[in-house]
């Protein structure tokens, strides 16, 4: 049990380190930004309509107070940590005065849902195919499907998404290409709403799946082709254990463990893919929020989203780390 405790402590330390470095990095980068929030929103507000020149002066002073950007960089850094802990990134500039946090919170469920679904599919499918391909090396069909997913694997998410959008949204318009759910539909556990969620989620999810499945396939296949030469597998074969059982209980099962760690390590990149996909399909998630924030020069929003996504990914990784021992006895009992 002691070893288990040690493991937990390590993971916990890692977890906090990720958050500390990530958040500091985010603050540092943003703090160098040339974007002056006050001028940003003055610009946002005076873009249209007659505005008396003298009037803008007053507006500027008023806003400087509202956004409260005083003090040295250190002060700002410390107060930023305070805000991170309180989960308060101040008001969004492009959606003033809505707090950045509430924007993120309303967007987060969409992203989490999309990612979890896509990851679940790509991870299990990729691993299944990869494992089969690694174990039954001669099977032609597996070879072909392998070639297919591997050909897709390096293609950037944006391109795959674009192609899907054209195929299923334009040339053969069968799926909604924009938004998260049908308009004017009450959110809730109704058949209609869930069905609508699935419809709108299909294209983005499919994109992420096609992007993700390749790497799982490849790593799983090589893992398996290594494991099959391990003693315990050879021995089981000499023991006359049925090949189905060997595959499931002696090969795949063991190969899944490193893949789980891989899942934790890859989350960061997966999130990146989600950003692009959400932007492409106008999916109301954190990724779209981030890109909108950038397009509108909304620095508090961009900072907020980046920080939150770093934390979110860290949390997800931590959760996986916590689950890992349940599956690998070598960590649990030692």
């Amino acid at each position: 049990m002691n070893g288990f405790a040690k493991y937990l402590v390590q993971r916990l330390f890692q977890f906090f380190l990720v958050i500390f470095l990530g958040v500091s990095l985010a603050f540092l980068i943003t703090n160098l930004s040339p974007v002056d929030p006050v001028e940003q929103s003055v610009a946002l507000m005076t873009n249209f309509g007659a505005t008396d020149p003298r009037a803008v002066e007053l507006m500027r002073e008023a806003l400087a107070e509202l956004y409260g950007l005083q003090g040295t960089v250190l002060d700002q850094y410390l107060s930023f940590w305070g805000r991170v802990i309180r989960g308060d990134f101040g008001p969004s500039l492009s959606a003033f005065p809505t707090p950045v946090m509430s924007l993120i919170m309303s967007a987060l469920p969409w992203t989490i849902g999309l990612l979890t679904l896509a990851l679940a599919i790509s991870w299990s499918l990729g691993n299944l195919l990869g494992a089969l391909a690694g174990y039954y090396r001669s099977n032609l069909l597996l070879r072909l499907s392998g070639a297919a997913v591997m050909a897709l694997h390096p293609v950037p998410a944006y391109i795959i998404g674009l192609v899907l959008l054209l195929l299923l949204g334009f040339i053969w318009p069968v799926l909604p290409i924009s938004g998260g759910a049908q308009m004017n539909l009450q959110p809730g556990f109704t058949i209609d709403y869930i069905y609508s969620l699935i419809l709108h989620g299909t294209l983005p999810a499919l994109t992420l799946v096609l992007v993700g499945i390749g790497s799982w396939f490849i790593s799983m296949r090589s893992l398996v082709s290594n494991i099959v030469t391990d003693d315990h597998v050879v021995y089981a074969e000499l023991g006359g254990v049925s090949s189905g059982k060997i595959f499931s209980q002696y090969v795949a099962r063991n190969a899944l463990l490193p893949q789980l760690t891989g899942l934790a390590l890859s989350l960061g990149n997966v999130f990146g893919g989600a950003v692009i996909t959400e932007f492409l399909f106008n999916y109301p998630g954190v990724g779209r929020l981030l890109i909108q924030g950038i397009y509108r020069g909304d620095y508090s929003l961009v900072l907020g989203v980046t920080t939150m996504s770093i934390i979110a990914v860290a949390v997800a990784v931590f959760i996986i780390d916590l689950l890992y021992p349940l599956i690998d006895p070598r960590v649990r009992l030692s």
Binding site: V35, E39, S41, V42, A43, L44, M45, T46, N47, F48, G49, A50, T51, D52, P53, R54, A55, V56, E57, M59, R60, E65, L66, L93, S94, A95, F96, P97, T98, S102, L103, L132, N139, L141, L142, S145, F170, P173, V174, L175, P176, I177, S178, G179, G180, Q182, M183, N184, L185, D192, S196, I198, T202, N282, P284, Q292, I294, Y295, G297, D298
Partner: protein, 635 residues
């Protein structure tokens, strides 16, 4: 067993795909009662307070459909037809020295919650915003208004701190204006700046029905008591549009696809190619400002080549003229708008009344205008540009291009400057520049290079114009690189952090010859030193006594006085001589309408309203639309 798996997967996808048609496009709302308009991705979806910062520019229908104020000007209208009394029963009444404005209000107008609208709401609107700096219209009120009172429930009297013959323009809607606040609602909240006004009470014909917390759509529905609004009481029949849906239809491609799929009736703006695609693939279900090429609706906005007068050598008029002479406007028109541009040689948009008030009368002056290149004088104006563009686009559009020169002028503008490299060279030499090989050197001997700033994706046509002009200058020996500023564009323009930029620094009423809308801010007293933020409009920081004189004169004449147009011409002539910025064209907006469900959209032939979905005049279009009898039956 693999085959089985694949087959199963295929089945699953098919199962997902097939019943899509079954799900109606908007839940619970008959498609043929709803007008679907391209909206923004509203981030503050829960926010409906128009008067607090950020709320002021919400394009999701809030100000277009629920807010109201005294007057509207239709940027497309001409003469009196352009003017609409909304909440006010009549035009503004000033005293002789323009220190007091009196407004009489219409009777029988009610808020959507049943409370009657009175002069008290107006007084409250002005006073509350003066008390709360940071509210949208606080500053102009603070600057202008000494006191405001309501002698009776239908009359409001504004006492001004200083003479201002244009004070009423604060309450006159072009794109937007100072909207009247519901006193009875805001009274009850402690801080009007943090109050999200959700759900909003409406003073106009439509009221909030439902919205997406993710900000992808807002649905407005016709008020049952629509007659009790300033717009409703003028109508003789109930508006046929029962619901207005502002939806964020995604990126430009998605917008076009959605309109082709009849899921988006009104597009705000797309690239020319998108417009042409719709015109090609859905000609018989699409209405546009011009029935054929160039399709586009010209906004009363003037994209120009802006020079930073506080950076040498752009303070030198000869340099500015030289750069103008190096532009081949035909290439710019073709490159930016594929020819569908309404060119402007004068420094005011060639739209609405400006055509009759300025462009037509000033043609002779333009043709005879002489420019001294230092070695000789030339007549740079070319009135035949529209014919030349017509010739360029004829191969693609054939019969859609008329022969009649006047029609061509309406489509492509009245004329522009000739491309004249030698004149440009002479002007540069006059300014002390020297040419070394194919590279111009500044008087101090350093190479003359330019960073040309464009905003980018937000306004693709201008970004394209920028790249072409940059190329034309580079080819003539002035190395020019395009610089995409993105969202910092506004800030950098305001801060004077640019050499040369493509943007607009001139916007007009469109429907009225008065130029004060932008000209007021051109007075030298507002010009800031480099680095500081310049108030909106005079982004080039052009400074000229003659200009100040015109502005001061304009302040003293009343809005509708005939002198206004005269002063306007003085300004335009001065602008041609000085070339403070190079006007290019009207901001042409491709806003195709889908006629599958609705007909009777405004057009060049019947310009009864602005066509931009984000313009507040849109409400006059919405209530005029007629359901298409041949529309597919509601599912």
């Amino acid at each position: 067993m693999q085959l089985k798996k694949l087959a199963a997967a295929a089945m699953a996808i098919a199962a997902l795909v097939v019943p899509v048609a079954a799900q109606e496009f908007i839940a619970g709302i008959p498609r043929n009662e709803a007008l679907i308009i391209q909206g923004p991705a509203a981030q503050n979806a829960e926010w409906f307070n128009l008067w607090a910062p950020g709320g002021g520019a919400s394009n999701n229908g809030l100000q277009q459909l629920t807010a109201d104020t005294f007057w509207f000007i239709n940027p497309e209208g001409t003469g009196d037809a352009a003017w609409t009394n909304a909440l006010a029963s009549d035009r503004p009444v000033y005293n002789d020295d323009f220190t007091q404005m009196t407004v009489t209000l219409k009777e029988g107008i009610f808020w959507s919650d049943g409370v009657e609208f009175t002069a008290d709401d107006v007084v409250y609107t002005v006073q509350t915003q003066i008390e709360h700096p940071g509210m949208g219209w606080s500053a102009p009120f603070t600057v202008n208004v000494d006191s405001v009172e309501a002698p009776d429930r239908n009359t409001v009297v504004f006492n001004l701190k200083a003479p201002n013959s244009r004070f009423h323009t604060l309450f006159t809607v072009r794109w937007n204006a100072a909207w009247i606040m519901p006193k009875h609602v805001f009274e009850t909240v402690d801080d009007p700046l943090t109050y999200n006004a959700n759900p909003p009470v409406s003073l106009s014909a439509y009221v909030l029905h439902s919205y997406d917390t993710a900000g992808n759509w807002v649905i407005w529905k016709l008020r049952d008591d629509w007659q009790r609004t300033s717009i409703g009481m003028e109508l003789d029949a109930e508006p046929q549009v029962k619901y207005v849906v502002y939806r964020n239809a995604g990126n430009p491609d998605a917008r076009v696809i959605e309109q082709l799929n009849h899921n988006l009736d009104v597009i705000n703006d797309i690239a020319p190619e998108g417009m042409f695609t719709i015109a090609r693939d859905a000609a018989d279900t699409t209405a546009t400002w011009f029935p054929g090429f160039p399709f586009a609706h010209p906004d009363p906005t003037l994209p120009s080549v802006l020079f930073n007068h506080q950076r040498e050598p752009f303070e030198n008029k000869d340099v500015r003229w030289a750069l103008a002479m190096l532009i081949d406007i035909r290439a710019v028109a073709m490159g930016s708008y594929r020819g569908a541009a309404n060119l402007a040689a004068l420094s005011t948009p060639p739209t609405g009344t400006a055509v009759t008030d300025y462009y037509v009368p000033m043609q002779d002056w333009l043709t005879s205008f002489e420019l001294n290149t230092g070695t000789r004088t030339i007549k740079p104006y070319d009135p035949t540009v529209s014919e030349q563009i017509a010739a360029l686009v004829k191969p693609q559009w054939g019969d859609q291009i008329p022969a009649d020169p006047d029609q061509l002028k309406a489509m492509f503008g009245h004329g522009w400057w000739k491309t004249d490299a030698t004149a440009a060279a002479e002007l540069l030499q006059k300014a002390g520049f020297t040419k070394n090989g194919n590279q111009w050197l500044k008087p101090d001997g350093t190479p003359f290079t330019i960073k040309l700033m464009v905003e980018g994706d937000a306004i693709p046509t201008l970004a394209r114009a920028g790249t072409i002009i940059a190329q034309q200058w580079s080819m003539e020996g002035i190395q020019t690189t395009v610089d995409v500023a993105g969202p910092t564009n506004g800030q950098r323009l305001g801060g004077g952090d640019f050499d040369v930029a493509i943007y607009w620094t001139v916007e007009t009423w469109g429907g009225h010859p008065d130029l004060s809308f932008f000209l007021e801010s051109y007075h030298s007293s507002f010009i800031k030193p480099a680095g500081e933020i310049q108030p909106p409009r005079n982004l080039t920081r052009w400074q000229d006594e003659r200009l100040d004189a015109i502005i001061e004169a304009n302040r003293t004449v009343s809005f509708d006085a005939p002198e206004v147009a005269q002063l306007g011409m003085d300004y335009l002539k001065l602008a041609v001589e000085e070339m403070p910025f190079i006007p290019l064209m009207a901001y042409n907006k491709f806003a195709p309408f889908d006629t599958t469900y609705w007909t009777g959209y405004p057009s060049a032939a019947d310009p009864y309203s602005a066509s931009g979905p984000f313009w507040s005049n849109l409400r006059y279009m919405v209530v005029q639309l007629e359901a298409n009898p041949n529309a597919p039956a509601a599912q």
